[in-house]
């Protein structure tokens, strides 16, 4: 029976668990329950990835109604791959949360935290595997509302302004997506993605559909924080509780990137978006500006969380850059980076959260001399930081390597050079933190304090991610296989070789 319903489990499990988590009461019990459920959906996602890799895409008709009349879940290698990253991150972050939220969220709000986390997981999983454009919007709403709640839970009151900003921008993004979907429905009479794509192929060039495309792209770009629509992200990531930042940075924007890929390739069709509308040029320019502008912004921040938040916007630039190359290797590098970046940013934000746990601050000043006092945390930060830079033997190197090769394949020397230059900026911003941690003495006042390593429940998930960074940097079998087969599948029936920039 589980085999038959496998596709629905990553949504149904957290969906049912979220309300239960609200009434369990005891913080410890709720934590164990939420972690268990998240781990179960992670196992389901793993099974889904294995099934799709061997047998191809899965379809699950909800309510037993065949699409396009009913709603269909559609699991293929691409979304199973991202789903695995999301549910694995969710599980690790939940393990990490137990101690981390003690210091950052009022005890009376802990059950709300776990409920909102599970709701967010429900929404993100739904957005990934649904095959229905309106259903995607519904899950987007669930994940967005849960995200706003999570950010606003910090006991630092500044999180409220950040949340409000995020709420306004996020709602505009969601509304744009809804307007776009409405326009598609008006012209085609269907909401099923596969059906939409067949129906739309019949139109040569239609102004209503193109407006729909524009609205969806802008809406999704707001959600994935593509430059210049990223203004909500640094404040939200800075003021949210550390575990929330670790979760959102490694999942929420990635899912939005996936939604963009899905709309481009499975709904509108790559040939329409890239050949007729020439959208790859806009994407490429914005991606490159994002890489430079936000990497630069990262180098001048004194709050390490803000620094990493700007770095995230820059990293999203790399993913979008991969998409904008319009080639199988380009898209593949984007997909690999979705997965790898989740590993690095998850580890980095967890390490920063660990520093906050002990120091009560994430300012760069607080990092001084921590190399000796919190050796495990800072070692984790260092390795994940090297991965962001793209040093060989780390996961970050793999994604950059494929991105540069993909660019060179199309003779885009400048793009390849810019990617490498962007990494130099990453050296600067990660280097600043490492310098403070390893080469500067702690200020006198803090030197007296007895700073210890954080509890093992925080260290364990952090180090699992760090080891994953190294593992996927050396053994690229799984990531490359999944990403290659995903991008070949997405480019099916479309020959990108004819596209010249």
């Amino acid at each position: 029976m589980i085999e038959q319903h496998l596709a629905a489990l990553p949504i149904i499990l957290p969906l049912i668990a979220a309300p239960i988590a609200l009434i369990l009461g005891r913080s410890m019990l709720t934590w164990a329950f939420a972690t268990l459920v998240s781990a179960l959906s992670c196992i389901a996602s793993w099974q889904l990835l294995m099934t799709t890799l061997s047998d191809g895409a899965l379809s699950y008709a909800l309510g037993g109604w065949p699409p396009p009349w009913g709603i269909e879940l559609n699991v293929d290698v691409t979304n199973a791959f991202v789903l695995l990253a999301v549910s694995a991150m969710s599980t690790l972050v939940l393990i990490y949360s137990k101690d981390s939220i003690e210091k950052e969220i009022n005890a009376s709000n802990h059950s709300l935290y776990y409920t909102a986390h599970l709701l967010c997981l429900t929404g993100l999983s739904g957005m990934l595997i649904t095959g229905d454009a309106f259903n995607l919007f519904v899950f987007l709403e669930i994940s967005s509302l849960a995200t706003y709640t999570l950010v606003s839970l910090a006991s630092d009151r500044r999180c409220l302004t950040a949340t409000f900003r995020y709420l306004v921008m996020g709602t505009i993004g969601a509304t744009f997506i809804l307007i776009g979907v409405g326009m598609l429905y008006m012209k085609t009479g269907t909401l099923n993605m596969a059906d939409l794509s067949t129906k739309m192929a019949a139109f040569e060039s239609n102004r209503t559909l193109n407006t729909g495309l524009a609205f969806i792209m802008v809406g999704v770009s707001l959600k994935l924080a593509l430059f210049p629509l990223h203004m909500w992200l640094p404040a939200a990531y800075t003021h949210a509780p550390s575990s929330v930042t670790a979760f959102l940075a490694s999942t929420a924007t990635k899912v939005a990137v996936y939604v963009m890929i899905r709309f481009i390739f499975s709904v509108f069709g790559a040939s329409h978006v890239f050949e007729t509308m020439s959208m790859e040029i806009i994407l490429m320019v914005l991606a490159i500006v994002a890489i430079f502008k936000c990497s630069y912004m990262a180098t001048v921040q004194s709050n390490v969380k803000t620094l990493l938040a700007y770095s995230s916007v820059a990293q999203i630039g790399y993913m979008v850059l991969g998409i904008s190359l319009v080639s199988v290797p380009g898209l593949m590098s984007g997909l690999i980076h979705i997965f790898n970046h989740a590993l690095m940013k998850g580890a980095l934000f967890m390490a920063v959260g660990a520093v906050f746990y002990r120091m009560g601050s994430v300012n760069i000043e607080a990092f001084k001399g921590l190399g000796k006092k919190m050796p495990l945390t800072m070692a984790a930060f260092t390795i994940a930081g090297l991965s962001i830079i793209g040093v060989p033997l780390t996961a970050g190197f793999v994604s950059k390597w494929y991105l540069v090769t993909a660019a060179l394949e199309q003779d885009l020397w400048i793009v390849a050079a810019l990617v490498l230059l962007g990494s130099l900026l990453a050296v600067v911003y990660i280097g600043r933190v490492l310098e403070a941690a390893y080469f500067q003495e702690p200020p006198e006042s803090q030197g007296a304090k007895n700073i210890k390593e954080v509890p093992w429940l925080m260290l364990m998930p952090m180090w699992i991610l760090v080891l994953a960074n190294i593992y996927f940097g050396i053994n690229t079998g799984l990531t490359v296989e999944a990403a290659t087969s995903a991008s070949q599948w997405l480019f099916q029936g479309y020959n990108p070789a004819g596209v010249a920039l």
Partner: protein
């Protein structure tokens, strides 16, 4: 004639929107929002979308207005003038508006029977739903069965909204004990009238809940209407009195129960051998299965919506009462 009504309503809608933008008095703005919702509801009726109109009137004009007034009561009545330049936002709005107008250029003709929306999935909903689902109200058939998963999602959205509000506005038990005898709580006439009206509102809510299969209505509207009855009671008799009937803790459990009831129907149909939310498997006869399924999930929706709306109101009202005491 219908076109004329549409045009007049749309013109009024536009005027209301413009007035909302330029007014500085937020109390008036909230009233205009309420009017805006009623006008939209009228337009929906004219488009023969009575179920949507019903929801818009109950949620948009009803509960939202109360919540917005509650916010004003806590924060203040006049808008502070913005300090930043309005040029860029204006430009963005103009570009968005222009894009929307551009998008209308290739739209199918308004209300034409050959439009794509009437030709693809709709015929099956119209022709087959009486045989496949057996309900006279095909809106309910689509909402609760064909696209029941969306409705489950929407119920979870409502539930998430409650989580959000609870995380921001803490409800303390002791606030409810101090009950200021002021404002409308001291009016004897209001108390008498409320006592007469409240039972009727609740009865109407139950009617809307269980008649949704046959006419306009369903869980969303019923939940909101039932919540409105309790909100009226709270406004006139104070929070501490309404807490004796339904306390905030009980409401949380109700909200959870509603979502679980809905999802539980899905899980049960999985256990009986169907897909998630396949009501055909709920009974021997698929048609009765559909019927049981829809009644149960609508009940789940109604319970959750009721509990969430009332919890949100409690959270607001306890803030207001706290502000009044200080």
């Amino acid at each position: 004639m219908e076109l004329l009504i549409d045009l007049v309503l749309l013109a009024m809608l536009a005027l209301t929107a413009l007035r909302i933008i330029f007014l500085k008095d937020l109390f008036a703005v909230v009233m205009l929002f309420s009017i805006y919702s009623f006008l939209s509801a009228l337009i929906f009726i004219n488009l023969d979308a009575v179920d949507v109109a019903f929801t818009e009137a109950a949620v948009g004009a009803g509960i939202s207005t109360v919540l917005m007034l509650g916010t004003i009561a806590i924060t203040g009545r006049t808008e502070t003038p913005p300090t930043k330049s309005k040029l860029l936002p204006l430009l963005i709005v103009v570009v968005t508006g222009a894009a929307l107008i551009y998008g209308t250029l290739d739209m199918p003709p308004f209300g034409h029977a050959d439009n794509p929306v009437h030709e693809h999935v709709a015929p099956r909903y119209i022709e087959e739903s009486p045989k496949e689902i057996g309900l006279p109200n095909m809106v309910t058939s689509v909402l609760a069965s064909y696209r029941g998963f969306d409705t489950l999602g929407e119920t979870v959205v409502v539930f998430s909204a409650m989580i959000g509000v609870l995380s921001l506005l803490r409800l303390r038990k002791r606030d409810a004990d101090k009950n200021p005898e002021s404002g409308i709580k001291a009016h004897r006439v209001l108390q008498v009238i409320a006592k007469i009206v409240i039972p009727m509102i609740i009865l109407f809510a139950l009617y809307v809940q269980f008649h949704g299969d046959f006419g306009p209505g369903g869980g969303f509207q019923a939940g909101v209407i039932a919540a409105a009855a309790f909100i009226l009671y709270a406004l006139v008799f104070g929070l501490s009195n309404v807490f004796k009937v339904v306390g905030p803790k009980f409401l949380r459990i109700l909200a959870v129960f509603g979502v679980l009831l809905y999802a539980g129907v899905g899980v049960y149909s999985m256990a009986m051998g169907g897909n998630f939310l396949d009501y055909n498997y709920l009974a021997e006869n698929p048609l009765s299965g559909q019927h049981y399924g829809i009644i149960l999930i609508e009940l789940g929706v109604g319970i959750t919506v009721f509990a969430v709306m009332l919890s949100i109101f409690y959270a607001f009202d306890s803030q207001i009462e706290r502000a009044n005491i200080q």
